[in-house]
């Protein structure tokens, strides 16, 4: 057997089977290093016991407190005989009551799909219609406002155009009058000179 520090520690703590313990002891008889290691470990273990246990500075005790006491059902749950008796009594009572009171088998109500649909539709109408009405009114108002704005802009543009046309006509009329006057003057001048004769 070769040197094994863990086997020496196992021996120290009595964690080896008898046969294995014998083998380790035989090895130690022939190996001074392992013997010394075992001796040092034994000393360490003994030295550790130089640290004595201390008494707690105060004793710990609990007083009866309803908050921490188990409930009646917890006590019952943790007591075998009482729990068994209670279970048997409960079962007997259930059988007796069942024997006297037999409730008529209830026929499970089959839901009417049409009624369910009608209810759903009514509920949908109740919740959706006001919302739709409000949304439509809001959209209409927005449309009207937008149309009014467009109409007003068109009117403003039409007025401006009309004013511009009026000004242009007025200018043309003035120019025509001026040309007419010049033509008249030319007529008179040529008559005086006898050109047109």
């Amino acid at each position: 057997m070769s040197c094994s520090p863990d086997a020496i520690k196992d021996l120290l703590f009595g964690a080896l089977e008898a046969a294995e313990a014998s083998r380790v002891k035989e090895h130690m008889q022939q190996c001074a290093g392992c013997r010394e290691e075992f001796d040092r470990l034994q000393f360490t273990q003994t030295a550790l016991h130089a640290l004595r246990d201390e008494e707690p500075p105060r004793r710990i005790a609990f007083v009866s407190d309803r908050v921490f006491e188990p409930r009646w059902w917890q006590r019952l749950w943790h007591s075998g005989p009482q729990l068994g008796f209670a279970s048997a009594a409960l079962l007997a009572a259930a059988i007796t009551i069942h024997a006297f009171v037999r409730p008529a088998p209830e026929v499970a109500a089959v839901p009417d799909p049409a009624a369910i649909e009608a209810r759903i539709m009514a509920e949908v109408s109740r919740r959706i219609e006001p919302a739709v009405r409000a949304a439509v009114a809001e959209a209409e108002a927005r449309q009207k406002e937008k149309a009014d704005e467009i109409l007003a802009a068109a009117r403003r543009e039409f007025q401006a155009q009309r004013e511009a046309d009026r000004l242009m006509l007025s200018t043309l009329a003035e120019e025509f009058t001026l040309l007419q006057k010049r033509y008249n003057v030319l007529q008179l001048a040529s008559a005086d000179l006898g050109v047109l004769r």
């Binding site: 040092r40 000393f43 030295a47 130089a50 246990d53 500075p57 004793r59 710990i60 407190d65």
Partner: protein
């Protein structure tokens, strides 16, 4: 030990039915062990006492969940383990105050306990807990695995590494011999 277990079973059954006095008796049988386990793990008496109180309160409230009254000790230590590590996790950002490391150089018996305390404080929390449960509380490896909720191989690994560290820490005392 068998008698102790039998008495514990009886007290647990009475406590489950609401017997506060029975529970107080059960507490008196275990409070010293739980207190010392917590004291060595958290290293502060007031904290250890508060945690002990909390452990027994939680144990009382959850006594109904204990499936096998014969497994009361690992179950109780499991609650203590959870409480202790909950506190240690909260403390973790702070630096633990370690005892004077020169204690190991002194070979006077009166100070051996201080040297041991110092050496224990240098272990990781998991290693220290494995030492406490095995050497001070005398649990079997399987029971420790149940308390810590980990495989036996993990328990052994933590304990044996811890033992090597303790052995080295206490070597000066060993070489001089305790007076």
């Amino acid at each position: 030990m068998i008698f102790r277990e039998a008495e514990d079973r009886d007290l647990i059954a009475k406590a489950r039915r609401g017997g506060v006095e029975a529970y107080n008796l059960l507490v008196s049988r275990w409070e010293k062990r739980i207190f010392n386990y917590l004291l060595r793990l958290v290293g502060d008496r007031e904290d250890a006492l508060d945690l002990t109180q909390e452990v027994f309160l939680k144990a009382y409230q959850n006594l109904g969940k204990l499936d096998d009254a014969g497994r009361f000790a690992p179950w109780l230590f499991r609650i203590a383990h959870n409480e202790a590590f909950s506190l240690l996790r909260k403390r973790r950002p702070e630096t633990d105050v370690l005892p004077d490391e020169n204690h190991a150089q002194r070979a006077f018996p009166i100070e051996l306990s201080l040297a041991v305390e110092s050496a224990l404080a240098r272990l990781s929390e998991e290693q220290r807990e494995a030492v406490i449960l095995k050497i001070y509380q005398g649990f079997k490896f399987e029971e420790i695995a149940e308390v810590l909720s980990c495989p036996v191989s993990t328990v052994k690994s933590r304990l044996y590494t811890a033992l090597d560290l303790l052995k080295d820490a206490l070597a000066p005392i060993h070489s001089r011999g305790v007076q």
